[in-house]
Point group: C2
Chain length 428, copies 2
C-alpha cells in the first residue's frame, strides 16, 4: 500500500498530458489516447494487460481464487483545462489496489476499469462509456451528436476503434462479470470536506435530479408609464419563485441529508432598461438523495411558482429538461467505507454526491460505494483543482483499505454461500 | 374648433406615411420628409409658412397683437412601425389651434413647433431637436452616433440641411422668443387613463429618472456539489434586491403621486443550468416626480442592495447609466389645463408622465403643461396604438380649449404687466 507511488504516478501523468492550463485528456483525442498508452505500460509492469470493451472502456483483470469480482475504477479522460485528480485519482488508486494483490492470488477476482468519456466534454453526453456498459445508453440519443468543430461522435468513436451501433455489446460483457462490488475514489469537486477540514468522505449515493425550465409570461410595458399595481412583471414572478425554491430546499435539508436547488439560467424579454419584462425564463435544478424528498421539493416548487404567478398576475409554464432518480449506494459497502475512512482518518463524514459519476451507472447492476477526497476551495474542472498532499495521502490509504475490506467481505460472502450450498446438497 | 378635422387629417397622414405595420416616419428619412412636406401644404392653406431652425425643428408663426408668445407643438417623427397618434396628434391639434386664431389677430403671438427627432429611434438620442433648442444638447455626445447600417448622424443631418456643429443656433433662436407658455398634447402611452376610463389627463410633469446597473459578484459553483449555506449566489442577491426595490417604490407612492421602479435587464454568468450564478447584473430604473422622493428611493435601493449582498455573501457595485431631474410643470398652466379638461370631460385626473417628452426640455425656459389622451391597452410605439374616437374627440376639444384659455391667460398677464408698467411710469 503505497500512497506516495500513486501520487508520483498522478504527477507523471499530469506532466505528460497537461499544460500550464491544466489537464488536456479530452476523450477520444490524441492526448487521452497517449494517457491510456502510458497507463498500458504501467499495467504491463504488473504482468497484466488491458482489454478494451465495445464502448471503449479499458479493463484490467487480476484473476482470483473465485470468479466473484470486485471492480475498482474511474476515468482517465478530463475536460479541457481540467484538474489533475478528477478521474485520474480513481484510476491510479485502482492500479495500486491491483499492485497490492498481484503477488499472491486474491480470494476474489479484481478488475480495474477506466471508463471512456465520463466527462462528455466534447460531445455533451457524459458517462458515455459507463452508460453503454450499464445498458442505459440510448444509441439513437447520441447518434447525431457533433462537437463544436462539426466532427460527428460516430466518427470520433470510429477513430478509436469503437463502432457506435455495437457499443451496447459492452453491456453484454458487463453482465458476464459476477460482480460483488464496484468501488470508486474521486475528488469531491465541492467544498463540503474542506469546510469540515476532513481529508476523506463516505459517499452515500448520487443525487436524483429534477431539471426544468420555467417560463413566466406577463406583459412587457413601458418602465415610465406603467404604474406598479398595473404591471404584469414576469421577472419579479421568477425572482420570487427562485428565492422561494431556496427556502424549500432549506426546509427539506436535514443534517447529513442536504438537498440543493439552483436557478442557473435567467432570460428576460425584451431585456431593455426601459421595459417591464414581459417574459422571464429560468432553469430550476433540484437535487436530493431521497426520492420522496425530491418529489416533495418538486411539488413545493410548483406551488411556489403558481403563487408567484398569481401574485404578479402572470402565467407560468413548466418544461421538463431532464431527470434522473437518486442512486443510493449499497448500505453494507457504505459501512465498510466508513470503517476504512475512520480507521485511516479518525472520523468518517458522510455526504451525498451532487455531480454524477460512473458509479451511478453501476448501481442497478451491483453493490456500489464511492469515497471522496478533500477538494481545495471546492474547485474542479479547472487547473486550480487540488487536494493538499496530506489529505490526498490519507484518502488514498483509506481507499486501498476499503478495497482490502471489500475483497475480504465479498470473499467471505462467497464462502458462506458456498457453505450454505454444500449444506443444502448434504441435506438432500 | 373642429376635432373631426384634426382626426381626419391624422388619418390622412397615417395612410400617407404608414404601412400595414404602422407609422414609418423615422426622423431624417424620406417618409418623415414627406410627412413634413404634406404638413407644409396644410400650413400654406392658412396663408402661413414653415421656418426650419438650425436643429431641423419646424416652426409656424401666427403673429398676435403682442409679441408675447404661446408655443404649441409636438413631433411628426415616429419609431419604425409606430403608432398613428404618438407625436402627430400634438402637431395636428396645434395646427387646428392656429386655424382657430388665423381669422382674427390673436392678442398674443402663436407659434407651432414640430420638433425634429423626438424618438431617437435611429441614432439612439431622443429629444434631439428640442434639446438643441433648449441648449441642453451636448454636441460632442452625439458626434459619433451611427445607425445600425453604419450611417453617421452627422451625415443624416446634413442630408436634411442640418449642420451638427450649428445645431445650438436653435437655442439662440429660442431665446429670442418671448415665450409665455408651451403646450403639448400627447397620447398617454400608458394604461392609467384607460384604467380610470377617462378620456383626458392633466400632466403634472415628467418623472425624474435614476438609472443604474447593479453588478452582484459571488462565486460560480457546481449546482450539485455546493451546499446551499456555502453558496455565494449572485442571482439570488439580485432577485432579492429587485423585489425589495418594488416594495420601496410602493412605500414612496402616494395617491396621485405614484412612483415606479423597473428591473428590465438581467444577465447571469456563467448562465448554465448546472452552475450557481457567480455574477448577476441588473438594470434599475427608478422614477418619481418629486426630487426628494426620487433621492430617497435611490438611497433605499442602495441599502436594499447592500443588505441583499450581505445576506448572500456577495459583493455589489453600482454603475450610473443616466439620470434626469424631475421636470414639474407650471402650476398656473396645470390649473388651466385642469379647468379645460373638467369643462370638456367632467373630471380632470392628474398624472405624471413616465416617458420624457419635448415639453420636458422647455421647462427650464418657460411655463409648460401637457395634456394626455387615453391610450388603448396602454400600448404605444406599435401599430396597435390607439385612442378610441370618442375619447380622442373630447381630448382634442379639451386641448383646443386649453390653448384658448392660455392665450387669454398670457394676454391678461401682459395687460396687467403693461398696466403696472404704466402705473410705475405714472408714479415716477
Amino acid at each position: 500500500m503505497n500512497a506516495q507511488r500513486v501520487i508520483a504516478e498522478l504527477r507523471e501523468l499530469a506532466s505528460r498530458t497537461g499544460t500550464a492550463d491544466g489537464a488536456q485528456r479530452l476523450a477520444w483525442g490524441p492526448v487521452w489516447r497517449d494517457a491510456r498508452e502510458w497507463f498500458r505500460g504501467k499495467v504491463a509492469e504488473l504482468g497484466l494487460r488491458v482489454d478494451t470493451d465495445a464502448a471503449g472502456n479499458n479493463w484490467v483483470t487480476l484473476p482470483g481464487t473465485s470468479p466473484k469480482t470486485v471492480i475498482v475504477g474511474s476515468h482517465l479522460d478530463s475536460v479541457p483545462n481540467g484538474g489533475w485528480l478528477d478521474g485520474a485519482l480513481g484510476v491510479m488508486a485502482a492500479l495500486e489496489a491491483l499492485r497490492m494483490h498481484v503477488a499472491t492470488q486474491p480470494p476474489v477476482t479484481l478488475k480495474l476499469v477506466d471508463w471512456a468519456d465520463e466527462e462528455g466534454a466534447r460531445f455533451g453526453r457524459s458517462l458515455l462509456g459507463s452508460a453503454a456498459a450499464a445498458g442505459s445508453l440510448k444509441i439513437d440519443d447520441v447518434r447525431e451528436l457533433k462537437d463544436r468543430q462539426g466532427t460527428r461522435l460516430v466518427d470520433a468513436l470510429a477513430e478509436n476503434g469503437v463502432v457506435l451501433d455495437q457499443m451496447l455489446d459492452a453491456h453484454r460483457a458487463l453482465k458476464t462479470i459476477d460482480a460483488g462490488a464496484y468501488l470508486e475514489l474521486h475528488i469531491e469537486q465541492g467544498p463540503v470536506l474542506e469546510s469540515m477540514q476532513k481529508s476523506t468522505g463516505v459517499v452515500l449515493g448520487t443525487f436524483g435530479v429534477e431539471r426544468h425550465m420555467l417560463r413566466f409570461t406577463g406583459q412587457a410595458a413601458h418602465s415610465g408609464s406603467t404604474p406598479i399595481p398595473m404591471r404584469r412583471d414576469a421577472f419579479l414572478a421568477a425572482a420570487q419563485t427562485a428565492l422561494e425554491c431556496r427556502e424549500i430546499a432549506k426546509r427539506h435539508s436535514k443534517p447529513g441529508a442536504g438537498v440543493v436547488c439552483t436557478v442557473g439560467i435567467v432570460n428576460v424579454e425584451p431585456k431593455i432598461v426601459t421595459a417591464v419584462p414581459g417574459v422571464c425564463e429560468i432553469s430550476l435544478d433540484q437535487r436530493a438523495l431521497d426520492p420522496h424528498v425530491l418529489a416533495a421539493m418538486l411539488r413545493d416548487a410548483h406551488d411556489a411558482s403558481d403563487r408567484a404567478a398569481r401574485d404578479n398576475n402572470v402565467a407560468v409554464e413548466w418544461r421538463d429538461l431532464w431527470k434522473i432518480n437518486p442512486r443510493p449506494f449499497d448500505p453494507a459497502l457504505v459501512q465498510l467505507c466508513e470503517d476504512a475512512v475512520r480507521e485511516e482518518t479518525g472520523e468518517a463524514p458522510r455526504l451525498p454526491s451532487g455531480p454524477l459519476h460512473d458509479a451511478a451507472e453501476m448501481v442497478p447492476h451491483m453493490p456500489v460505494v464511492m469515497m471522496f477526497a478533500y477538494s481545495s476551495n471546492g474547485l474542479s474542472h479547472c487547473k486550480e483543482e487540488d487536494t493538499p498532499r496530506e489529505h490526498l495521502e490519507r484518502t488514498i490509504c483509506a481507499f486501498l483499505r476499503l478495497v482490502q475490506k471489500t475483497v475480504q467481505h465479498v470473499a467471505h460472502n462467497e464462502e458462506r454461500k458456498g457453505r450454505e450450498g454444500r449444506k443444502e446438497t448434504t441435506g438432500l
